[in-house]
Symmetry: D2
């Protein structure tokens, strides 16, 4: 019963198979092989963006930091939520890649509101040369607290950004879970809503380690490529990234895996009804649930793994647990978890 993270599970077997198929003969390196080219095209097709610049990298940190560095000058600041992954969990990677840029935390919680965003942007940029200059807006979909931006909300935030002529970045580490939850197409969730650069994450949803970065305005392509190289993120044996992404796209695997993950989370939400108090509105694959102490204790005793997000692991009060389901989470594990929780 492992609900610690979507990076704790394995890769989907078809991913390994695709890598095996790619593991044959000599091909050009650095993404110049035929498979890599085909995969970029498939992503353009998926996003209905035939002109888009598409690149693969192996980690989400790289994907987001490189995208932001390409959008943001070192004297600017990125607008994001106070719990944005780029702020909390990257050991200053965005600041490093931006060359000393800044993040401005938009007051509120994980789901930014258009009003708060507008106020934050207005507050920056009132100091002329003295203040940080306004830079891109960054949205995480699904958020770091497991909540979902409805399409309308993304459109509104992009509208605010557009009012100030600022680009919008979408951190899509859990892009697939969001698209499934919203029943939205990748295009609807990105450029049709006003997003300029999207990260289409694969690592948390069945790949070993591949994220696609999609610039809907292809002008930034070359700069992104240069930044990727000097960040050490251009793989020589690129085909193994491409093969993973190829498998991900094949038969909409990305969507099927996210559907499974979301389903497991929904089963858990249903099962915990009356037992735990939800701290988020989970429609994706991540649940923040306040567990009464006896429930927590019983789950631990039964071997359940998850992070205690708030509260004391070994105290007496309730704890807030982060429960993450993946495509590989066995339905039996969810059932068992619920059973133990309900029994406690």
């Amino acid at each position: 019963m492992n609900f610690t993270s979507d990076n704790a599970g394995p890769a989907h077997p078809s991913v390994l198979e695709a890598m095996g198929r790619a593991n044959d003969g000599h091909v050009a390196g650095y993404g110049a092989d035929a498979l890599s080219g085909r995969v970029r095209d498939r992503i353009r097709d998926l996003f209905e963006a035939p002109e888009a610049a598409v690149e693969l990298v192996a980690t989400g940190t790289a994907a987001n930091s490189l995208a932001l560095a390409t959008l943001c000058q070192p004297f600017q600041t990125v607008f994001c939520s106070p719990v944005a992954h780029i702020h909390e969990d990257e050991c200053n990677a965005p600041e490093f890649y931006m060359g000393g840029g800044k993040l401005t935390l938009v007051p509120g919680d994980d789901v930014m509101t258009p009003d708060a965003l507008r106020a934050a942007i207005e507050a920056e940029g009132t100091r002329g040369v003295h203040g940080a200059q306004r830079g891109p807006v960054s949205i995480t979909q699904i958020t770091e607290r497991g909540n979902l931006y409805p399409l309308e909300r993304i459109r509104q935030l992009c509208g605010v950004a557009r009012d100030f002529d600022l680009p919008v970045h979408l951190d899509g580490a859990r892009f697939a879970n969001a698209a499934v939850a919203l029943n939205a197409s990748p295009a609807e969730m990105t450029w049709k809503a006003g997003v300029d650069v999207a990260v289409f994450g694969g690592t948390k949803n069945g790949l070993m380690g591949v994220e696609a970065v999609i610039f809907f305005d292809p002008e930034a392509h070359w700069e992104f490529e240069l930044r990727r190289k000097r960040g050490g993120h251009l793989f020589s044996k690129f085909r193994y990234l491409a093969a993973q992404m190829d498998a991900y796209l094949e038969g909409d695997l990305w969507r099927r895996l996210a559907t499974d993950a979301n389903a497991r989370a929904a089963e858990m939400v249903a099962g915990l009804d009356g037992v735990a108090t939800l701290r988020n509105a989970p429609r994706g694959n991540m649940i923040f649930a306040e567990l009464p102490r006896p429930v927590h204790t019983a789950l631990r005793d039964a071997g359940a793994h998850y992070y205690v997000w708030e509260g004391d692991e070994h105290g007496t009060d309730p704890v807030t647990a982060r429960l993450v389901c993946g495509w590989s989470t066995p339905p039996e594990d969810v059932a068992r978890f619920v059973e133990v929780a309900r029994a406690a």
Copy 2:
């Protein structure tokens, strides 16, 4: 007949198998899993360095840039050869990771001499606060021009560095080929010779993309880990890097593969005797050979792939070709190449 690069070939089948075996169940991310721990231990064993700090990254650019950034302050300069990969082929990655540090090119060719190194170090650092401060020495073994530093030469260079209290970095993208060519142990080629940080490359020798960075003084460990994270090079699903390296170490695969690659190169050197003029002293897997124009034309017509390093692909003069053999280079390809060349 593909001799373009050691990154053009596939991964060894056992690498994929090891990744397949690792692809099971839930494990801790970010290198905290048992396999990753075991692999780090195995590398320490291989290098006879039980206290060493060992970390894996996925690209050589990352390995070298992170190692140098950990050794080198932004107001310092790295001493390297004028054709060092860190100078010529990284789109300023070392400078980026060092936060604006510099490279000082030691006059000469790819194989640095102790005298030239000493003179270069002496020349820097005579300007007090005004000049770049002396930083690490970086050696590439096998060099970018396919030559080999004998152990004694490495010891001499490390001795010069030690005279100035400077650390030594070894770029070991082709570490295995060198160790085989020298019949030296990893320890002999590194810390026993005075090297402080070594990169033990796997990508060019049968892995998909894994390089180990070994700090023989473990004090730098935590800083390296932080720099790796903020560079976006800490993989969440770390087990797939560890599995590759595990396969690499198993039964000395790294040594067996490099032995094969070197053998192919030796066959080619022997076969080209009297046909081409060698521009380097190849004892590893990389040959720089001056090909008479008719030989070059015949080889191209026969479908041979390689880089023209100097000269005009479509001219009339001889060209210098870079010919790289890998573990997966078929002996028949070498034989065929030689045959075509000799016939021309």
Copy 3:
């Protein structure tokens, strides 16, 4: 009637005279002249810190950014108040000098509380390699909102920092005004309270542009010098910085000028009693006062210059004005200002 800023006024005549005296003959550059050496010694004397490393720079941005860069690794974060000058008014200079470091805003207002600081430090550094690492604490004395840290409060904040083994930086752009207001010695306000690095500002208090940076632990000296040089802040004709500081120290000019500035502010505070609502507790030279609209209008009509900090310059509601007095503010101007305000 100019109350816009302490950088709007002239330099004290004795400063210019000292520069004139220094403007004679050939001397060594870059701070190696006798005058520069003597001035550094005088600052050590003033701070009762015979071992301290002392350096001069020409701007406060440089002083604070270089001090922080010397204290803070690029993967760390600086703890400061949400209105810290280093956060709001430096166009990302600290982030630039730190090589991509971060600032963590301690919740609260301009005067940090020990509890809030402790909570902020505790909250950082709970994410291992993923989060920004804990770095220095930065205190502004007098704060950007014109408030004063009592010595006891500085000691408490330094105590919190010490509990986490973090260094403390004091932004002393208005150091003199604070020392006068507290009737404290420079030593009491800095190292005796636990401060590791202090900026002793002169620019806002009668110099043309000189700030001293004092590291009480001299070990950082050489690194600071290198960072100053590569930041472009090492003046070749250093004597003109030294001469300014020499004049500043002569006969405690710094203290006499700050006494005058504070006195003007006190007169204004007294005069505005019953007319304006103070938004800070001014004991230095900076007043934030809520002015009823008629008062604001009357003052503007009378030619008073000051910044509207909150509210609408041309609206109907009251505005909050920032009123800064300097050593050169004529008492008559304060009297006139008060008179106009009271009449309105």
Copy 4:
């Protein structure tokens, strides 16, 4: 007899007087005062460039590094001579300001040739995403070895840069000495020859510390201002920089002072004829002369100050001395120097 450097001498009295005149009353900070505006206009007039963006900074390091950072992306490289000040004497300041950019040393000596420049540019940028990308060309006029680029040579170098669509930066620390030596107007030596950004140095020619940076394409203005601010080089009490430059422009003081300095150097060159062997072709104010040992010894005994550029201060062989004259070098000192040298 001080010939160590043009930064060892004092400021011209009229500079101090201008600062004194500016030292009156309250004015806007940060260059928004009337005097600062007027000075920027005067520089535009002097350069016959009514649209140019003009800014003042206090050090040459800042002027050149900020100019290059505005012209050069962090993944690019600057082409300069192997003895360029930006390479040898800035403790990595350009690399720092460029965010990790690089310098490519054009083979040859201090005076770049068009052919060598073209070859260097061609050699870079042949490696696609892997190599440093081509960036600006940087010319130092007068060079660091005291030589002069004729106008035609500047035009040729700019022509080469233009062929590759690269901008040209002119490091004009000794701009005035060059303009006098060439009898050229500032416009002729810069934009009329193809220069995009010029530094018009004052510090080495009679100011305390002011350099003007002139972008002939004003589009870069705002970015330069932001970079200046975040570099800590925006002075709050800007009028004191402006006043210095104002004096410098008044009655062509800059030209008169450089004329004096060059005249002293010419006297020395003439006087050393037959005694010393010139190592450069001095037409400005800086002489590199090989002094026979007895001459060197006699000069030292007579109290002459200068740098030994090559050779051993205390050996037996001849030494190469760098002899720098300034506007304030007394003709008697030159005469005395020559007399001692000739007597030896």
